[in-house]
């Protein structure tokens, strides 16, 4: 199975490379290292969000509220910053992670204690969190002039030649990788996704495990709330509206199985990167936005077909799938 996943990730990497090559043929300066780093930096937020979503999807759940969580947390820290510019930015970042985790925990508690299907819970909180953005801001924007210079500049700085934002993505990816592959909690995410019943009989608390997945996706959403606002220097009700679907798309393209239990950090990152390349590179060669959407959509379908084939090759028979 691992070998299969690796080849799937390899194919995805090749697909990304193919897009890059195609664009470079038309526009030679595109492939310069600086430009590639820019694309990576532009995709950093999506990569982090995809990792959070992956943890949730692994447990046979889904988090539709990530983008709303991001917008709400972003609005809160932006308003705090506007009102109290003396609060140090690292503290604000920590606060955004905590607020996001709290909003994720709310999803998690509803899923765990009340046993409501995750899609319903997060469909509700998607609207609630988005509504709260309006409630706390009164519909007003927080713009660049109101934000402190540190608030805007921190993630633009660079370290070892990479923007700080990219470093955020690298660190989050490393942490999630360790969590997924090197801790009992990570093992539990996979186990309850593959077979929740047997997991219960093994002494794993399925509801609690889902809860932690939601806390993780919430914490990442919160962090990305700060990063998003400081990057685009505008906090409004419309921030990242509809972005939850892009996050899920990145996961699916990256080979994360919507049925749960299957997915890797590398896959989710490549899935996000693929969307990043498509959305950043195609405008360069004058491909219309419609075609960008069509290409993203086709990528999702191709990924799903490949995943389905990969899973049947593993020896799952038709009947079992029909019974499940």
């Amino acid at each position: 199975m691992n070998r299969l996943l690796k080849t799937r990730e390899l194919w995805l990497a090749l697909a990304i490379l193919a897009v890059l090559v195609l664009v470079t043929i038309r526009f030679p300066r595109f492939a310069q290292p600086g430009n590639l780093l820019t694309i990576f930096n532009d995709t950093s937020i999506l990569m982090m969000l995809a990792l959070g979503q992956m943890a949730v999807i692994l447990t046979r759940s889904i988090d539709l509220s990530m983008a709303s969580n991001l917008a709400l947390t972003g609005m809160i820290v932006a308003m705090v910053n506007a009102a109290f510019p003396m609060i140090p930015i690292p503290l604000l970042i920590a606060a955004s992670v905590a607020i996001g985790a709290g909003l994720g925990a709310f999803n998690g508690v509803l899923v765990w204690k009340l046993d409501i299907p995750p899609i319903v819970v997060t469909l509700g909180t998607l609207t609630i969190y988005r509504g709260l953005v309006f409630v706390i801001s009164g519909g007003a924007w927080v713009n660049a002039a109101q934000m402190s210079p540190d608030f805007i500049q921190l993630q633009r700085g660079s370290f070892l030649g990479l923007p700080i934002l990219s470093w955020f993505a690298i660190v989050v990816a490393a942490l999630v990788y360790v969590l997924m592959t090197r801790t009992p909690q990570g093992r539990a995410f996979y186990a309850i996704g593959v077979n929740p019943t047997a997991s219960v009989y093994t002494g794993i608390n399925v509801g609690q495990t889902k809860f932690w997945a939601f806390v993780l996706s919430g914490a990442i959403s919160g962090l990305c709330g700060y990063l998003w606002i400081s990057r685009y220097v505008i906090a409004s009700v419309e921030v990242a509206s509809g972005y939850e679907l892009t996050i899920i798309a990145a996961c699916v393209i990256g080979g994360v199985s919507i049925a749960g239990g299957i997915g890797t950090v590398a896959g989710a990152l490549l899935g996000a990167l693929f969307l990043g390349v498509v959305n950043n590179a195609l405008p360069v060669i004058g491909v219309s936005p419609f075609w960008q959407m069509a290409i993203s959509g086709a990528a999702i379908l191709i990924a799903v077909v490949l995943n389905a084939r990969g899973e049947t090759r593993k020896g799952r028979v038709i009947l079992k799938r029909a019974e499940a």
Partner: protein
């Protein structure tokens, strides 16, 4: 001699790395029951899937009444008159009995719509002809597993199937329900159907089969008439060696009570349950399916909340509210349904074994896979698990080996009490003997074993004492000392000592 209805010749089927079937042949005759015998992994299920259009054979021929047929889909198989009744019935809980019987071939009105009245009437006629005592208008989910089997048989009759495949139909049935099934098989025989009967139980095979075909490692190794063949010879063909169905004799010193349960009650499933299992003892739980045995065990394991009662482990009162609590206290449970409740299919062996012991194999919250492999090697080795490597996916293992993985997983947690729920249900004779032998070793090491089983030879062969349950109550607790099987069956079924 009559001609076979269905003839398979030279059927081969391979999966990556596995040769499931190699040039096997099978004939099914009208009005006769052919038993398909073989250890788990011998290729029986694969053959059934080939016959029902779910798998395509790599080579070989399928003839129905002499005509070569192609079965590219499940639908084409049923159109060719082949139908299967599975171990776990493939029916729809939320539909009515009549809808289940006629799903896919419902009678139509002249406007092409479903003729509900005719369907309901025909379904009821079929059910009545079987003396099933089922109302065709009932939702299926209100029926027990045995009645669901009857519905599956009624469905087979309604599609006018010529070939009926019964894949371990009695695995989940009680003795009384099995008797009813035999009557049905006779009914199908009289109707001239050709029946393929797959079972691990020899008494059953010798009771109802006319012919047999034996598979071993994907090849056909023998066939003939049941009446002409002694059991020992069939067993020899099946395992390639002769196996004594003798339970391992062991001498253990039985000590103090380890786990004591008193007055345990549940609002609907069981009431006032009391039993104690002692150190080094195997306590058997016998009863009909639905007597509440598994439910009691699940309550002891913390899966089901109880309304009253106490559980005492080594003199200390415990109240496990989750399986994690129970495992922590030293009680583990090997559930009945291996595939659904036991193994995490799709994950490798070592991850399955280490899953409840990750706290032990990790250091400061980080997994150490070398330790996990060591743990898995130790415990699977003791059970003689057959696998190419510990990284092998458990879904590729046979039922018997999957059961060993589940047991190894629990042994690694160093439990005090191990509860085995139907530990050998549906696994082959070789693995069965291994599990039985291992149970003997467990108690020799001072563990306490609770074994829920519906198989009389197993209960009588393995238990030191036997608790008999009926309708959610403990009927009696007996010392297993020259106990007659009839006594147990009587107690379990609630038959009062009759004059004859």
């Amino acid at each position: 001699m009559t001609e076979p209805i269905l003839t398979l010749t030279g059927i081969s089927k391979s999966f990556p790395g596995v040769r499931a079937l190699h040039e096997v042949a099978l004939e099914l005759y009208p009005g006769q029951v052919t038993a398909l015998i073989g250890e788990n992994g011998a290729g029986k299920s694969t053959l059934v899937k080939v016959m029902t259009g779910i798998y395509q054979p790599d080579a070989g021929e399928i003839r129905v009444r002499g005509q070569v047929v192609n079965l590219p889909t499940a639908h084409s198989a049923s159109a060719a008159g082949i139908t299967a009744i599975h171990q776990e019935t493939v029916l729809f809980d939320d539909l009515t009995v009549a809808e289940n019987i006629y799903l896919g071939h419902a009678p139509k009105t002249r406007f092409g719509l479903i003729d509900w009245q005719t369907m309901r009437r025909e379904a009821q006629l079929t059910l009545d002809s079987m003396a099933a005592g089922i109302d065709a208008g009932m939702p299926l989910k209100e029926l027990g597993i045995a009645k669901k089997h009857l519905v599956a048989v009624a469905r087979a009759l309604s599609v006018d199937a010529q070939v009926v495949i019964m894949d371990e139909p009695t695995a989940a049935l009680s003795q009384k329900e099995i008797e009813e099934l035999y009557v049905l098989v006779d009914l199908l025989k009289q109707d001239g159907k050709a029946i393929l009967f797959i079972s691990h139980k020899f008494d059953e095979i010798y009771r109802i089969a006319d012919r047999y075909t034996v598979f071993r490692d994907g090849e056909m190794v023998g066939k003939g008439m049941i009446a002409d063949t002694p059991q020992g010879e069939v067993v020899r063909m099946m395992v390639g060696r002769s196996v004594d169905q003798i339970f391992p004799k062991r001498e253990t010193a039985i000590g103090e009570p380890v786990l004591a349960v008193d007055g345990l009650s549940h609002p609907t499933e069981f009431e006032d349950i009391a039993f104690a299992v002692r150190k080094g003892e195997i306590l058997g739980f016998y009863g009909l399916v639905g007597a509440g045995r598994s439910e009691v065990m699940q309550a002891v394991f913390g899966m089901t909340p109880v309304s009253a009662g106490t559980i005492t482990l080594e003199g200390r009162a415990i109240a496990p509210r989750s399986p994690a609590d129970a495992v922590e206290a030293g009680i583990v449970y090997v559930p009945e349904e291996r595939g659904k409740q036991g193994v995490i299919t799709g994950e490798p062996i070592f991850k399955n074994v280490s899953l409840p012991s990750l706290g032990k194999t990790s250091r400061s919250g980080f997994l150490r896979m070398a330790e996990e492999f060591k743990l898995s090697r130790t415990y699977t080795g003791r059970l003689d698990l057959r696998a190419s490597s510990l990284s092998q996916n458990v879904s590729t293992l046979s039922g018997g080996n999957q059961q060993k993985v589940v047991i190894a997983k629990w042994l690694a947690t160093l439990p005090k009490v191990i509860i085995l729920d139907e530990p050998t249900k549906g696994i082959d004779i070789g693995s069965k003997a291994a599990v039985h032998e291992f149970m003997g070793e467990l108690v020799a090491q001072g563990l306490s074993v609770i074994m829920v089983s519906s198989e009389l030879p197993e209960i009588l062969g393995m238990s030191d004492r036997i608790v008999v349950m009926r309708d959610g109550l403990v009927v009696d607790t007996l010392d297993n000392d020259g106990l007659a099987p009839e006594t147990l069956v009587r107690l379990a079924a609630g038959i009062v000592e009759d004059a004859a």
